[in-house]
């Protein structure tokens, strides 16, 4: 079983603070982490490999410093890491991003399963996973919460929905996006950390891919950002004071009015 896990390096949003005076983002000193949802994808890939053999390749597209995210994935049990980094990729929207990742996966060639997190915590679009599957013309199952069985060349999984879940069977290769419920990611072991430190990260630029330049970066992206602004802060609220009975009565009246 050859598994490719696609990850993204994102700012750790806990540390993003709003400057109260200018009402803008303060990103200085914000740490970069692996997108939290991708941690489940890495863990699931490694678990499948441990059970059925094969290898796990982690793939990311980003600036040179995204190498840190790949090393962390290696420390968690991935075998190989590939970084797609090139100015030609800058400004990519979800269309161009999934195109570029799909080109890299075509180059990797030998794969049975692609695993992605359900979405990235900074963009929240949930488009890149299905986008990769479509570019590669393979099936997908989104929001996978459990892999029930992998046998021969078929897999059976549970897909989370708003009301519960669906049981879906698919041939291989297939792309899954996974949700938090699928597993509890492990902590890196010392041996993994040591290995990750010295492991070689493969770097690819657009020249390494058989990609149509018209589909890359800003020029290959159908969407453009025309305006970025800070939302109006919520008007400051009213604090209810007094003893418990008084507060409860006030609150009951408010609720009665709002319902």
């Amino acid at each position: 079983m050859n598994i490719i896990v696609c990850i993204k390096q994102v700012p750790e949003t806990t540390e993003v603070r709003i400057n109260p005076e200018t009402n803008t983002l303060m990103r200085e000193g914000v740490k970069s982490i692996i997108n939290p949802f991708d941690m489940y994808a890495i863990e699931e890939g490694v678990r499948i490999k441990e059970k059925s053999g094969g290898k796990v390749t982690v793939l990311t597209m980003g600036p040179p410093q995204a190498e840190t995210a790949l090393r962390e994935a290696l420390s968690l049990g991935a075998d190989e890491a590939i970084l797609l980094s090139d100015r030609a990729f800058a400004g990519s929207d979800t269309w161009a991003t999934s195109y570029t990742l799909a080109c890299a996966i075509r180059k990797i060639k030998d794969y049975d399963l692609i695993v992605c997190g359900k979405q990235a915590s900074d963009g929240d679009t949930a488009q890149v996973g299905p986008g990769i599957a479509t570019h590669l013309d393979i099936p997908q199952v989104t929001y996978v919460k459990k892999i029930e069985e992998i046998k021969d060349k078929t897999v059976r999984v549970e897909r989370m929905t708003e009301e519960g879940y669906e049981i879906i069977e698919s041939g291989l290769p297939v792309l899954f996006t996974v949700v938090k419920e699928i597993n509890s990611p492990r902590m890196p072991a010392l041996r993994g950390l040591m290995r990750a430190k010295s492991a070689k990260i493969i770097h690819w630029t657009h020249k390494d891919l058989e990609a149509n330049a018209e589909n890359l970066g800003l020029g290959g992206s159908p969407t453009q950002v025309v305006k970025i602004f800070t939302p109006l802060p919520r008007p400051s609220g009213e604090m209810l004071e007094g003893d418990v009975e008084v507060i409860a009565r006030k609150l009951a009246d408010i609720l009665n009015k709002e319902i």
Binding site: V16, Q65, D124, Y143, I167, E169, S170, Q224, A248
Partner: protein, 400 residues
């Protein structure tokens, strides 16, 4: 260089520094300097500069659709489950009518499934001028490939200029595939949609970076312009039983229905009578409740109000509540009319999952808890004392 500071125009005012989501701009010698290793070419700085000192090279779309003018009309994907059109579709139809009015065009719904007679009528009453219907046994339940193939076929045949889709587990999976296949611009989870009066294009606005920043996104050179919207962002359109519309039944090549995945079973497991993302009222608890058994106070209040129970990640991670109740970045995003946060401090990950609620009430013993920053009504105090009294008072008020 794809992005440049025009030094003669730059005054060093720092406006661009403040809007840069990537911390890529610094002022050096009173001029802005862009660090290209950090810059993502997102374009936030260009409109923020009042002196037009930032030049962002926007390459002409090389695969620009030649026939943009032929694309007309606003379409809504009428997601159905078990033969029932989902309420979010009626919310999208309301917005689609506004957009179509600005463009002087019509609204169409596209409905895939099996035996949908009554639903077709309802879509017309709710604002669709046309309903495209594809009824086949294979389309009864959502499956990625057949749905994608049929939608792509219909878009290529009828050429709508705007295509709206629910940001649901079905909609997000479907529309991502469609947008790739036809190379269209897709903006996820929009909170506002409008038409640019001069250019006649769709302006899609969405939160970015965990809701701290809003971005307006366009796709001027590709059609249709696609957007997804979550449930409860826009109001539902009202039923007008006098409305008339046209029903177009589609036939197509059966090969479009091929699927490499097979849906074996659908399992519903709503533990509660009210689904969290559907609820109008949510009472949520966090670690401030101090012990798992105190969640019964939350449940009691929720029951009196006919609402659902939510929980913070801290409460879920402590094993006090099931994950299906978790609100926030790694849980559910909710937008009820009333959200009551009890003993929840309000970490940013929680806030992004609930801050678009209409009215937020927060009860917390720490007067500096961040939850109070988003609350319409705040109470500094102990939930364990306040909740029982509130529930009792509320029952009396509601009885009247």
């Amino acid at each position: 260089m794809p992005i440049q500071v025009i030094v003669e125009k730059c005054t060093g005012c720092t406006m661009c520094v403040k809007v840069c989501p990537f911390d890529a701009i610094r002022i050096m010698d009173k001029k802005a300097v862009i660090n290209l290793d950090k810059c993502n070419l997102c374009g936030a700085c260009e409109p923020a500069c009042k002196f037009k000192a930032i030049f962002l090279e926007k390459p002409e779309a090389s695969i620009r659709k030649q026939d943009i003018g032929q694309y007309r009309g606003v379409w809504v994907f009428a997601e159905q489950k078990r033969g029932k059109v989902q309420p979010v579709v009626y919310e999208l139809l309301g917005k689609a009518r506004e957009l179509a009015a600005s463009l002087g065009t019509e609204v169409s719904a596209v409905l895939l499934g099996e035996r949908l007679e009554e639903e077709v009528q309802e879509l017309i009453w709710r604002g669709a001028d046309k309903v495209y219907v594809a009824e086949r046994l294979e389309l009864a339940n959502y499956q990625d490939e057949p749905y994608t193939n049929v939608i792509v076929e219909l878009i290529n045949k009828y050429k709508p200029e705007i295509f709206l889709c629910p940001a649901s587990s079905v909609g997000r999976s479907l529309i991502s595939r469609v947008a790739i296949k036809i190379k269209a611009g897709l903006t996820a989870d929009c909170t506002e949609l409008a038409i640019d009066k001069d250019k006649k294009i769709l302006l899609s606005t969405r939160p970015a970076f965990g809701g701290n920043i809003m971005a307006t996104i366009v796709s001027p050179d590709y059609r249709p312009q696609m957007a997804t919207v979550r449930h409860k962002v826009f109001p539902e359109s009202l039923t007008d039983m006098k409305r008339k519309g046209k029903i177009i039944r589609e036939s197509f090549d059966g090969r479009l229905l091929n699927s490499r995945t097979r849906l074996l079973d659908i399992v519903d497991e709503i533990e509660q009578t009210v689904n969290l993302s559907e609820a109008d009222i949510i009472v949520a608890g966090g670690r401030g409740l101090r012990a798992p058994e105190n969640f019964r106070l939350i449940e009691g209040l929720a029951r009196s109000l006919g609402g659902a129970v939510g929980a913070s990640r801290a409460a879920v991670d402590s094993g006090w509540m099931a994950y299906s109740h978790q609100v926030g970045q790694t849980g559910k995003t909710v937008c009820p009319k009333i959200y009551i946060a009890c003993g929840i401090s309000g970490q940013i990950q929680h806030l992004v999952g609930m801050q678009s609620s209409k009215v937020i009430i927060a009860i917390n013993s720490d007067p500096y808890a961040p939850i109070f920053k988003v609350a319409n009504y705040g109470i500094v105090g102990d939930c364990l004392e306040i909740l029982p009294v509130l529930t009792k008072n509320l029952r009396e008020v509601l009885r009247k």
